[in-house]
């Protein structure tokens, strides 16, 4: 177990370094962007004197490294800084955006896992037969459809033509849970691609696992089929699926901008999009930290689960 603990410690250290690298990279990229917050704020009235005044008000006339250093010092004290554009704390931005994002991610995940695994196992069980072909083809086709196209299609049919569901979550911004119907379409769109990739992965793993000697052995000794599938074969098909799941969660938390825009859900993706457009560097940086940490933690979690599932594979940092 101490091996595992040192592995986790090493990975966390590495994750911290990764996050720092991400922040530096993001800072460099935002500096490389054409225009700054002042120019973005000036918009279609780029009066040079006004831009200069805004720049001074935002402290943008200080050199880049000084601003970065100042921001980093704040971060060490747990202060993510304040927005250039509004002067509000970055932490508020993130906290506000995180709620809807988390809600969507949770709901999607809650449906993704049973559907993805269920379809995968179903297809693997009927490998080569009609059900398998059907599941495989449909998931393949859906996988190829861009989200926005699917979103537009679903809204047009289910919300506008049939009026079964509200087309957007407009105006529910703060209280999405109170309007569950508004969440159906976004979650459907979010589910579409992950379900396909997950079920394909699970199918592949299950096909191998079901054909393995240990599955045959369990069957030989009279263990019922469902039990063989779910308790003996599935754990072996799980490791790649868990990695995929981690990446899906990462994506769900760090950027589902199409869905947010299409259904007017004010999550983190929207915050990021606006911050980049406004060149609101502290907000972008704050999000980079949050996203970086999330990614590191999720990957670590996935690796630990995978390690637990495939104990043979040595722990590799």
């Amino acid at each position: 177990m101490s091996g595992l603990r040192s592995f986790v410690a090493r990975r966390l250290l590495l994750g911290a370094l990764q996050t720092v690298a991400v922040v530096l990279l993001v800072f460099a990229l935002t500096e490389a962007l054409p225009g700054d917050a002042a120019v973005a704020l000036a918009g279609d009235q780029p009066d040079p004197a006004r831009i200069a005044a805004i720049r001074e008000a935002m402290d943008l006339d200080r050199p880049a490294y000084e601003r970065l250093a100042g921001w980093a010092t704040g971060l060490l004290h747990g202060d993510l800084g304040t927005s250039l554009t509004s002067g509000r704390p970055v932490a508020h931005y993130i906290a506000d955006g995180f709620g809807p994002t988390l809600l969507l991610a949770t709901l999607t995940l809650a449906l993704l896992v049973p559907i993805g695994f269920g379809l995968g196992v179903l297809a693997a069980r009927h490998e080569g037969r009609l059900v398998d072909r059907l599941v495989s083809s449909v998931t393949l086709a859906v996988y190829a459809v861009p989200e926005f196209a699917l979103g537009v299609l679903l809204v047009t049919v289910l919300a506008i033509k049939l009026a079964w569901l509200p087309p957007t979550a407009l105006g529910y911004g703060t209280d999405l849970l109170a309007h569950p119907a508004a969440l159906v379409l976004p979650v459907l769109v979010l589910l579409s691609r992950p379900v396909c990739s997950l079920s394909r992965l699970v199918r592949a793993g299950m096909v191998d696992a079901l054909a393995s000697p240990y599955a045959a052995h369990a069957r030989r000794y009279g263990v019922p089929g469902a039990r063989v599938r779910y308790t003996h074969a599935l754990p072996n098909a799980l490791a790649p699926a868990v990695q995929q799941l981690a990446r899906t969660v990462d994506w769900l938390l760090c950027g589902v901008i199409v869905v947010e825009a299409l259904f007017v859900i004010p999550g983190l993706g929207t915050v990021l999009l606006n911050a980049v457009a406004e060149r609101d560097v502290p907000v972008v940086q704050g999000l980079a930290v949050v996203f970086g940490v999330l990614t590191v933690v999720l990957n670590l979690g996935a690796d630990l689960v995978a390690h637990r599932l495939t104990p043979r594979a040595g722990v590799a940092a």
Binding site: S212, A215, A216, H217, T231, H232, T310
Partner: protein, 521 residues
Amino acid sequence: MSDVTDSVAEIRDLRVEIDGRAIVDGVRLRVLPGKVTALVGASGSGKTTTGLALLGEYPPGARVTGEVRRTAHGTVGSDGPVGYVPQHPAAVLNPARRVSALLDDIARPQVRHLPRAQRRTTARALVLRALSDAQLPDAEALLRRYPHQLSGGQQQRVVLAQALLLGARVIVADEPTTGQDALTKSRVVEQLKAVAARGIAIVLLSHDLDVVRALADEVLVMRAGRVVESGPVERLWTAPRHEWTRRLLDEQRAVPQGGADVGSGRPVLEVRDLTAVHDRRTAVLHAPRLALHAGECLAVVGRSGSGKTTLARCLAGLHRDHDGEILLDGAPLPRSLRRRGRAQLAAVQYVFQDARAAFDEHRPVLHQVARTAVRLRGAEERAATDEASATLHRLGLPEALAHRRPGELSGGELQRAALARALLAHPRVLICDEVTSGLDTVTRRGILDVLAGLVGEAEDLSLVLITHDLDTARLAHRIAVLDTGELVEQGPAQRVLTEPRHPFTVSLMETTERLEAGTRT
């Protein structure tokens, strides 16, 4: 009691066909409780197919005719459970689940009639009893482990425990001793005997005749899907009727003896104060001094995990993490293969245990063999191919096979090709790491003959044989014995084999002899 009720399983006129080719044909077999029935034969003789037929399992796409009958607790008609201990027990243990997982599932139906509250504890008790019947101590802790945390022997016993828990009246054991050293083998034999003593019928599939002799009551000799001879083990050994049986037994007995002691003069290869470590920490091998003379054959003997493979890999430059020196003609060899020059590479060659894994599956064997001459001796492509072809032929691999890819060759054929590949370097020292383990008797004999020939014919070729098998060690001029990483004894083969000094060598010798003698208690 009549014969019919007596047998717990029976096969009649079994014929299994794949794509019109019969892989088992007309096999009859009766399995009696408490008796060990052995199916003997080379690989591909149909042993495993027959054994699996008892389990009601056939290869995919097979056409099956004939009858397979299993009896549950003496009642005719209903099929009784049959246990299976495969050659590689690890393969049937689920790598992602704890040992307890399948055992619990097997026990579950047996406690179904009980009230819910008692089921769990009763099932656990059944599992524990099965484990102790399979001679697995400390069962509670064991149940929480994953298969990869168990030793090979423990894995085998866990699989056996599964069969016992199932209440199997017949257990099919497929090559349970292949690739094991003498001590392990004898333990497996004891174990199976104990199982048989419980009144369970055992069907032993093996090409290891020592083990068959030690265990079996009845023996069926198979060849190309047919049973060529059957009968009680004693009769078969003393008076084999079929020519094939005789050949099998002869291969087993005739062990070529190495030539006279040639170890004199300056050693070709010398090891000084070698300490090898794994993971930069754990020392796994310590060899203060070991020398190999020109034309000499040295056998390094030890059980699995004794460090003999590490020693070989150090010599070959495949294991870098070691201290001490390895001298070739008095000059130190670089530790890493990368640092060794062409001449040094050519001088020390290594043949791998798993020949299939050591070949590139995408290219023809001949081409791969020839590369050695091209790379290490700068030979022309053309000349190299000719030489490779000749060498392969000399080692008994026909031209036609040489042009195929590794996937289309058998294990024995590939091992010959691997030897040829190493020989094309014109090495001074050839290290053979367990090259015969995992091969059936006939094939193994062939390889050993090739090795014996090498020792004889090439004056300046020295051989290092890494083996757990004293049979193979008999080929050598000198024997070094390794136990848990320590070099415990070395000396002329004759002397070590006849009057071993170290207690470990003694016990190794004794078990081997006991197995060979087929002593039965």
